[in-house]
Symmetry: C2
Subunit: 185 residues, 2 copies
């Protein structure tokens, strides 16, 4: 006897849930399934039909965030580029996903796939920082952990600036590169 047919959600419904969940949970990590459903414009039963538990939903969104971020980073051509140009390209690709960074920071899920994905991002960032130091765009005296932390925060503050409307995406990218390398003087 076959297992009960698993629910197949419509792609547009799933996208609405993912975007709504990121928005609502970034604002309040304790938001209820009801709040997420309302914001997504779907019924709460639809969430429960597709995700086994609230934790399952948060994990699934976390995995989606990591996949989106890794896809954005992977999509860049890096061969032969100067480190500072790779930094600029990375910011250009990743700043629009700043809300996903924030989601992963505030809605931690003890999920192997999220941990692995985050580790991939970290490795990529550390390699970039080593090259920035090698090419003189970042001083060798600066702890790499500090540089990585600054890059992380710049992604988020730049995303916020674009969301608030006082910077365009291009302006945000340039200001992020400038802030990290030569500062605001």
């Amino acid at each position: 006897m076959s297992a009960p047919r698993r629910h197949v959600i419509r792609p547009a419904t799933l996208e609405a849930i993912v975007e709504a969940a990121i928005r609502v949970l970034n604002a309040n990590a304790g938001a209820t399934m009801s709040e997420i459903a309302v914001q997504a414009g779907v019924g709460r039963a639809t969430l429960h039909r597709h995700f086994r538990t609230r934790d399952d939903l948060v994990s699934a969104i976390g995995i989606r965030c990591i996949e989106d971020m890794n896809a954005a980073v992977r999509a860049q051509a890096t061969a032969g580029q100067r480190a500072v140009d790779r930094l600029r390209n990375m910011f250009r690709a990743v700043i629009p996903l700043g809300d996903r960074y924030s989601f992963l920071g505030t809605n931690y899920t003890d999920d192997r796939r999220v941990d692995e994905g985050y580790g991939t991002q970290l490795e990529w960032a550390v390699a970039l920082v080593e090259d920035l130091k090698e090419q003189g765009d970042v001083g060798r005296d600066v702890p790499s952990a500090w540089v990585v932390a600054q890059i992380d925060q710049l992604v988020w503050t730049a995303w916020n600036a674009v969301a608030e409307g006082y910077l365009s995406a291009d302006e945000a990218t340039e200001l992020a590169v400038r802030t990290l390398t030569v500062g605001l003087r």
Copy 2:
């Protein structure tokens, strides 16, 4: 007939609760009263005896955070100082309170006193940014909102660096000033 005697908590107990609540709620904004009590080394009944509700506790901690931050900023002598020195002094005073910044960011409470206190901090920061621009430490082309956002995030990442142990408090202060003004090159 007089009202029932209000519970008077011991100062050491209250401090333990405040510090534990900041630590636990920074890690997980949805942490339970039980988790806070365990971390504080007190009984859950003690929390309920002193705070009417969980929301009341979160509000009270938020007010404490704002008061601590405003006290730190107010304690500085600023008359006659260059803007960059005021920036350095502000970082030195406020970085140890980075966990309080974070608390206010992630555990927003719709409380008039928290809003007012935050407004005071913001006014102070904007005035400092104007002076930094006036004295050439920050370019006039940079949006003030961007500079304020960077200062905010530097407080948090510097606090984290000290907590993680790869920077001393003095190193964190200097690196924060450097990152904002001349960058990491």
